[in-house]
């Protein structure tokens, strides 16, 4: 399946969930509606698209100018040896999107990291906690509104396990 044929096939299958198609430095990019993230991913995971690997999940903060967070998913199809980038924008005021836990196992940690760094909530995540920072950390460090090198308050000693 060529690049154009693939995008056509995806559009046909997913219809209204696809907001737009773009290309960035030669890579295909699909912009999808945030409420359709889970259904789109579930469809792409199956044949004929066969994107079996969730390669990466991250977020970009466009809150300042555009009032949105952009979630960026990278999928990889082993059988067809192609990657696909998907983007979905959520409002910066109350960023929330459906979780992919249940579709891919690494979605658990990837979503926890995005929650930790950006404060995006993943609906349906079984255990949405901070991953890289700690309980008691204030703010979400990768947001543009979070100053670089901001000092954090001291936290009490953890309970003994």
């Amino acid at each position: 399946m060529g690049k154009e044929a693939l995008i056509e096939a995806i559009r046909e299958k997913l219809g209204a969930a696809v907001e737009g198609v773009a290309e960035s430095f030669g890579d295909p990019v699909l912009v999808i509606r945030p409420e359709a993230v889970r259904s789109v991913m579930a469809a792409l995971r199956e044949a004929p698209f066969d994107y079996a690997v969730l390669l990466d999940l991250t977020c970009v903060d466009y809150a300042a100018g555009e009032g949105r967070f952009e979630l960026v998913y990278h999928l990889y199809s082993l059988s067809r040896n192609v990657r696909l980038r998907l983007k979905a924008s959520v409002p910066a005021g109350d960023p929330s999107v459906a979780s992919l836990v249940g579709l891919w196992k690494n979605a658990d940690w990837l979503e926890r990291e995005v929650f930790d760094m950006f404060g995006v909530r993943f609906e349906g995540h079984p255990d949405l906690r901070r991953l890289l920072t700690y309980e008691g950390f204030e703010g979400h460090p990768l947001r543009k509104s979070y100053p670089w090198r901001l000092a954090q308050p001291r936290i009490p000693m953890k309970d003994k396990v």
């Binding site: 890579d27 891919w104 396990v161």
Partner: protein, 442 residues
């Protein structure tokens, strides 16, 4: 204060115990909380982030050129591959082509780094299983590899040698002999280690069938690299999406069958053999550095003095720490498509245009400025697919830089792999994953 998941879910009669964050049999700071019934692990919870240093946030506040040294500190066992991943992502965005010589040097450095990465992983894994001899042998081999890297890059670990658009300097004049010695020494060590471990009943007992994962599960966890290949999936970025000159070189992608600790060990052992093959091929393809132009050579202070009256025609001798980056050598090492590399030092100190060029490269608001847009590019690192996702808004700093760390996805599976096993199984399972705090926690 909220308690951890494992504390909330634990049965009252079972024992909760911490492994780490600081534990003698664990390289790197990571905390594994275990719920135990005697020695049997009923449940586990892994807590990461002890080495979180805000890599991505820091990069947003550095210029494109400045942030390179931070990439050294991601996977600190094979820093050159991180340099390469970042540099090639930038090159994809800038649209520059790298000279052939620089590409071959990059392959050489990547493969040496890959071997040292695998050596470190297996050395630590074997030591934690009690095979201290293996640890010492492998560390010894790593020294020979690092000799090659050190003589050229000037540092063993924090190299910052591979730059956007090429490499910093040419190889050290004695690199050929050093590389040949490193390959020979490593081969000998691999043979010795193979003899010590392959049929060793203690080692096999602790690794065969332990920490096994299926193909489907490994893919679901987003595994890449030797860990994924140990399950039988032959995915290697060097073959799937060839970069540099890998499509012209002959090498195989070894795979395992059962995806257990022993297969992860075997795959790494065989991969090192392939990497050594690649080093030899590149050494044969790489011509010696062209000699510098003959004629008068002057010391830097003398050149600066002369430049006050007239243009210095003689060749300027550079200080030893700039060795290899002489002006006459840069054509083979740095792209000429766009000014993305540091201008030659000879010009900076002796000509007005050179000095202006220097400032235009380093000044705030100048220097490398890729076009607007976002890009993803990945290379095959020691642990798997090292990917950079970069968003540029057209300024001198990244708007967003994200690292796809291969061992993030691998370590995410640890809880599942040790559940139902014994405490002693945590050690080889964790060891064979090659958790690297620098890239895991960023």
């Amino acid at each position: 204060m909220e308690t951890s998941r494992i504390q909330r879910q634990a049965r009252p009669e079972s024992m909760l115990i911490n492994m780490g964050p600081s534990h003698p049999a664990m390289h790197g700071t990571i905390r594994i909380m275990l719920e135990l019934d005697a020695e049997r692990i009923l449940n586990a919870e892994v807590e990461v982030g002890y080495l979180h240093r805000g890599f991505e946030k820091t990069c947003e506040n550095k210029t494109w050129f400045n942030l390179l040294p931070y990439t050294d500190r991601l996977n600190y066992v094979s820093p050159l591959i991180n340099n390469l991943g970042y540099a090639m992502t930038m090159e994809k965005m800038l649209g520059v082509a790298v000279p052939e010589r620089a590409q071959l040097i990059r392959v050489l450095m990547s493969e040496l780094s890959r071997v040292s990465d695998h050596l470190t992983c297996l050395a630590a894994m074997a030591m934690e299983c009690g095979a201290f001899t293996v640890f010492l042998y492998m560390m010894k081999a790593r020294e020979f590899l690092w000799d090659v890297i050190e003589s050229t890059a000037g540092a063993r670990m924090t190299t910052s040698y591979i730059r956007i658009g090429g490499v910093r300097a040419d190889l050290h004049p004695g690199w050929r002999a050093a590389a040949a010695a490193a390959v020979a020494e490593t081969r000998r060590v691999l043979k010795d280690v193979s003899g010590l471990l392959d049929k060793n009943s203690i080692f096999r007992g602790r690794t065969r069938g332990v920490g096994a994962i299926s193909k489907a599960e490994a893919l679901s966890f987003g595994w890449t690299g030797p860990c994924l290949r140990s399950t039988g999936v032959s995915y290697d970025v060097r073959k799937a999406h060839p970069y540099l000159v890998y499509d012209r070189l002959a090498f195989e992608v070894p795979t395992g069958e059962s995806g257990d600790n022993f297969d992860r060990y075997l795959v790494r052992m065989r991969e090192m053999e392939q990497s050594l093959r690649l080093v030899e091929q590149v050494a044969a393809l790489l011509p010696d550095a062209p000699p510098l132009s003959a004629g008068e050579e002057v010391e830097p202070d003398e050149a600066i003095l002369r430049s006050r009256r007239q243009r210095v025609e003689a060749r300027v001798r550079l200080s030893p720490n700039l060795e290899g980056s002489e002006k006459g050598r840069l054509a083979g090492l740095m792209t000429a498509d766009k000014p993305v590399g540091v201008p030659p030092k000879e010009d900076t100190y002796t000509t007005m245009e050179g000095l202006i060029g220097h400032f235009l490269f380093f000044m705030d608001g100048k220097g490398i400025r890729p076009p607007k847009g976002d890009v993803y590019f990945s290379v095959e690192g020691g642990n798997g697919e090292v990917g950079f996702y970069i968003v540029s808004d057209g300024t001198e700093r990244p708007y967003r830089l994200h690292l796809r760390a291969p061992c993030f996805h691998v370590v995410a599976a640890l809880e599942q792999l040790i559940r139902g096993r014994l405490i002693a199984d945590v050690i080889p399972t964790f060891g064979s994953m090659n958790m690297i705090g620098g890239e895991l926690d960023r």
